[in-house]
């Protein structure tokens, strides 16, 4: 009988399963995408973009200066004369075509996103790129229905949109910005983040292959100065920015007193509230996904966990156990759960804040996990014994670091959850439907997820309260910032 020979368990391992990179072809050096072509920057300056998982340079990209931004805005203005007058159903055809091409080339874009940004390939492949295509499909559908979107008015495009996007979801943020702008009849000048410009440049080439008229989409790479030049440019009708609250404030000052429209999608310090009647094992997955998705480089990351005190010890034990099964390492490995931190600057910021947490007396927990020797990595981290007054409970860390606090009553959970200058998102786990509604009424957040977290859909508006910004992206609401003549 089998029991006579007890079989010792054997270590079950996943050998590396690396996504192939041969679909991606990179140039050594990229110019600026202006008026349908790559053009050498007048600034004559270039930046090097590196693979954060290996620290190896990937390519040089132009650093657009004042004159380059001006050329791009002029090209967008010229293109607007025809694009803005094109019937919506014609604009829709281009957007549908772009969406289909993005689907066809999703693997290539996903690999490039991972190479340049450090996110795990499984996320780029299963989350980012499917959502990118979905956004283009969704807004393609609106292009010829704008008059039905806002009955009783004849909406008109604004003109040239200046769009500045962050490094955490380079292609997805591009899609959030470009798709509604184009659907509404605007043309765009987009500045990708300095550390993750490559997918935007690949997208530029894709728009040419889709026969999008030159000048409708212009991509000006560069750093903060390039973005500032775009914000200052008098030929821009609208600024859409996603990024840090500090830069958002600078932008708002810069556009004050100008006719430019502005939407800001800024930082967050989202509360994730776990009630004692929550489906515990699924809530654990929700918390893990909430904070470790994309290394925690997520503006809506559930970075403040509030657990009802009656189940806190058990919940934290389960969380620690789950943390030890996370696979940190090579982002190109299909089994990697946590990839590379996007840049050394971000790694320093995370490290500094984690040290402040230890100094201020919170208790740190990190699972035993070996980080790669090269590249920028940070182990998944929990803090228990966190107080509202600790910096790690107040400041956005934008990394794989979770601050855990407890509460006793629903009122206390709401009070603590709302005790932040931010207000982008929140999560609630409970099996009581009535409590979900009660919480959603009271939480000051643009998005409240119930019994799930980090769910995105192009049909659902996204945006924040207070220092998390204003304006909504996604859904019918996402058209509003790009249209004239719509009462708001």
């Amino acid at each position: 009988m089998a029991d006579a020979h007890p079989v010792e368990p054997v270590e079950f391992t996943y050998v590396p399963s690396r996504e192939a990179t041969d679909l991606v072809s990179l140039r050594d050096r990229y110019g600026l995408w202006i008026d349908g072509k790559f053009r050498a920057p007048a600034s004559k300056r270039f930046l090097t973009t590196v693979n954060p998982a290996t620290e190896e340079p990937l390519a040089e990209v132009a650093e657009g200066g004042e004159r380059d931004v001006d050329r791009a805005v002029r090209a967008a203005r010229r293109a607007f004369e025809t694009w803005g007058r094109l019937p919506g159903k014609e604009r829709a055809k281009y957007l549908y075509r772009i969406a289909r091409m993005l689907q066809e080339r999703a693997r290539e874009f996903a690999v490039l996103e991972t190479l340049d940004g450090g996110k795990p390939i499984k996320e780029a492949r299963d989350v980012d790129l499917p959502l990118v295509a979905a956004h283009f499909f969704y807004y393609a559908g609106w292009a010829d229905k704008l008059e039905y979107a806002f009955p009783g008015v004849r909406p008109a495009p604004l003109g040239v949109a200046g769009q500045i996007i962050p490094w955490n979801f380079p292609m997805l943020m591009l899609a959030w910005k470009v798709a509604p702008a184009l659907a509404a009849g605007n043309t765009v000048v987009l500045k990708p983040a300095e550390t993750t410009p490559l997918t935007a440049l690949a997208f530029a080439q894709l728009t040419a292959e889709a026969d999008l008229p030159p000048g409708v989409v212009n991509i000006v790479t560069g750093a903060g100065e390039t973005g500032a030049a775009l914000v200052r440019h008098p030929g821009v009708d609208k600024i859409a920015f996603t990024g840090s609250t500090a830069v958002g404030k600078l932008i708002q000052k810069a556009v004050a007193g100008t006719p430019k429209r502005l939407t800001l999608e800024l930082g967050g310090k989202a509360p994730h509230v776990i009630f004692e009647d929550a489906p515990v094992d699924q809530a654990i997955e929700g918390v893990i996904n909430g904070i470790f998705f994309n290394q925690g480089h997520v503006c809506c990351a559930g970075s403040r966990l509030f657990v009802q005190e009656s189940i806190a010890d058990r919940f934290v034990d389960k969380l620690k156990r789950r943390l030890s099964t996370l696979r940190v390492g090579d982002p190109l490995d299909k089994n990697t759960d946590i990839g590379a931190i996007n840049s050394p600057e971000q790694l320093d910021k995370i490290t500094e804040l984690v040290e402040s947490g230890i100094e201020e007396g919170a208790e740190i927990y990190q699972p035993a996990c070996r980080l790669p020797d090269r590249g920028y990595f940070f182990a998944p981290t929990l803090f228990t014994g966190v107080s509202q007054s600790h910096r790690i409970a107040q400041e956005e860390i934008f990394g794989p670091v979770l601050s855990i606090m407890t509460f006793r009553t629903p009122d206390e959970a709401v009070e603590k959850a709302n005790n932040t200058p931010y207000g982008l998102s929140a999560g609630v786990w409970t099996t009581k439907g009535s409590r979900i509604l009660w919480m959603a009424d009271r939480l000051k957040a643009g998005v409240v997820w119930a019994n799930t977290y980090n769910k995105f859909d192009p049909a659902s508006p996204f945006g924040g309260y207070q220092e998390s910004g204003f304006g909504r992206e996604g859904g019918r609401h996402g058209l509003l910032p790009y249209l004239e003549g719509v009462p708001r």
């Binding site: 009988m1 089998a2 079989v7 270590e11 079950f12 489906p279 699924q282 929700g286």
Partner: protein
Amino acid sequence: MSTPAPLTLPVLGTHVTPQALNAYLEATPPVDEVAVHERVASLATRSIKRESKLHALELAVRMTDLTTLEGKDTPGKVRQLASKARRPDPTDPSIPPVAALCIYPAMVPVAAEALRGSGVAVAAVATYFPSGQAPLEVKLADTRAALAAGADEIDMVIDRGAFLAGDYMKVYEEIVAVREACGSAHLKVILETGELVTFDNVRKASMLAMAAGADFIKTSTGKVGPAATRPVTLVMLEAIRDFAELTGIGVGMKPAGGIRTAKDAIRYLVLVYETLGTAWMTPDRFRFGASSLLNDLLMQIRWVRTGAYQSPDYFTKD
């Protein structure tokens, strides 16, 4: 598993009252169905290649309870299957035997004879399988007969009617009684999750069966659809994890019915590994109840080793 599991458990003590049992079951956390499906879908993207795949496939062979449970089962059929169980691939002696041969009690004498000395266990479904709709004395007699004929393992069914009627005490007492009848024989408790339907029920029934002394909990009889699914298996694995934390007792898991491909089997192994860790990656704690799975495992093993697929004609159908 060489020592018999304790007949009464630290969780409930020696004198179990319906109130104590209810309180214990009420502490079972609720299950969010959507999130379970999501977790399973996410783990299905794990990429198991090369040595890891080969290892997983061989492990799956060793974890297989090769099964035939048909009214038309005959000594001839059972002998053939026993031979397949001992040596799944006659052309390749490196392929290990399966864990057990799972059959009806009437076939136990034949199976015990055919498997003597092989290390392959004889598992008998008992307790008025598959419905369990019979008096307890009948179920116990069925169990004792199977054991007397040489069964090493008993796969019993719970009384789903009693469970759905809320008579948890009846379900519990029956499992305890069968457990006692089993002595040191291995007891697998079939929940028939296809009839319990909700994940909340599945989790509660899992906690109930483990408290009553199950060595293994098992999804299905294979006679009711849906049989084993990965989501239902994950819910049971999470219950096993909670029970191990509560009592220190490591209960095994057996999904049964509907697992036909090696790819699916590997996805089950990933669920087990990521939920319970290395300690459960053994036939002592995880089994597949399957019949056609074995040949697909053999085909895939040959493919990983040689890089070529062979026709199904090269694998014996027993």
